[in-house]
């Protein structure tokens, strides 16, 4: 179910990006897509009734079925990349706001 929901998130995020001219709304759309793909990766890496991949005092030995640690490593990297891209996008948004007085892309003369 979560796998299907995360795919819907990616589609909704794409719709969010394409349907608006407001810079901040586009960035929200990008973040929705990022969250969608991150949840999808974890859902792909999940194993039915698998345990969190951490050895600890109560499950010291690799006997249980563990969830895929590689998928989680990929998502950790992807989340922080998403933060970096969003921060940069917001700075561009600010410069657009300073130059054109609005967050709306339609007044910026489009393809110059």
């Amino acid at each position: 179910m979560i796998k299907f929901a995360s795919l819907l998130l990616i589609i909704i995020g794409l719709y969010g990006i394409l349907s608006t001219r407001n810079v901040i709304k586009i960035l929200v759309g990008i973040n929705v897509m990022e969250i969608g793909i991150n949840v999808f990766i974890i859902a792909m890496g999940f194993v039915n009734d698998g345990a969190a991949p951490i050895l600890s005092v109560d499950n010291p030995v690799n006997v249980l079925k563990f969830v895929d640690p590689v998928a989680q490593a990929l998502v950790l990297t992807s989340i922080v990349i998403g933060l970096g891209i969003t921060a940069l996008g917001l700075v561009f948004a600010r410069k657009i706001h300073k130059k054109y007085g609005t967050y709306d892309l339609s007044e910026t003369g489009g393809e110059s």
């Binding site: 179910m1 796998k3 299907f4 795919l7 819907l8 990616i10 589609i11 909704i12 794409l14 719709y15 394409l18 349907s19 608006t20 001219r21 859902a43 792909m44 890496g45 999940f46 194993v47 039915n48 969190a52 991949p53 951490i54 050895l55 600890s56 005092v57 499950n59 010291p60 030995v61 690799n62 079925k65 563990f66 895929d68 640690p69 590689v70 998928a71 989680q72 490593a73 950790l76 990297t77 989340i79 922080v80 990349i81 933060l83 970096g84 891209i85 921060a87 940069l88 917001l90 700075v91 561009f92 600010r94 410069k95 706001h97 300073k98």
Partner: protein, 247 residues
Amino acid sequence: MKKIFAGLLAVAFGIVLLIGISLNTGLFGYNDSLPEDGAASHYISKDVNGKTDEVVFGETTGAETGSANMVTSVIANYRSFDTLGEVTVLFLAALGVSLLAGTMDKGRKRSGSGFILRTSARILFPLMLVTGIYIFTHGHLTPGGGFPGGSMIASSFLLLYLADESFRANVKGFKVAEGLAGTLYVAIGIVGLLAAGYFLVNFLPTGTVGNLLSAGIIPVVYVIIGLKVGSEITGIVADMFNEEVKA
């Protein structure tokens, strides 16, 4: 009009996506076990280099990676190169923000921060700082690691920032810390290259799985990442916050 066009395009993309994935791995349900000789199962049983004896928490010594938290072992040992690349992405983002958001505005008037915010900030700041440091020093034992730990430190500075009138993140100090942490990370890689012939190799002993100093260079790498991510995000926050007030 634009919305309808966007809607159609998104729906078309969605249909292609869902059909393609149903052909590929199916839309519902999860797999029952990891691909048998895939990378994941080797990372879990820590037998990539052929040492196949059982890894027991608290007893095994000298395992490939001493980290009990397998995700940390993947991030800081098996695929440490990804994390180095990852830290560079954040480094560039912080650099871009400071380049494009312009310089700090000296005389900025700020909306006064309420009494409640100031006192709660003083109480919360040390707590968040300590939690952040705890998280990234115990990255190889408990969930969480360099990234959340570093961000928590940044959030604690953010809180202080919001609350305190005169406090101004000494951005230059953070930039220097960020640069040094980055250089240190690359230096560890090069030392590994010179010492044992592989870039970013784990040249410290891995000790017994489970106790604090048990994972070779993982704690060192995670402390560096924690400091670097913390200073970078504080830099982003400081630039964002100042610029915003001046705009």
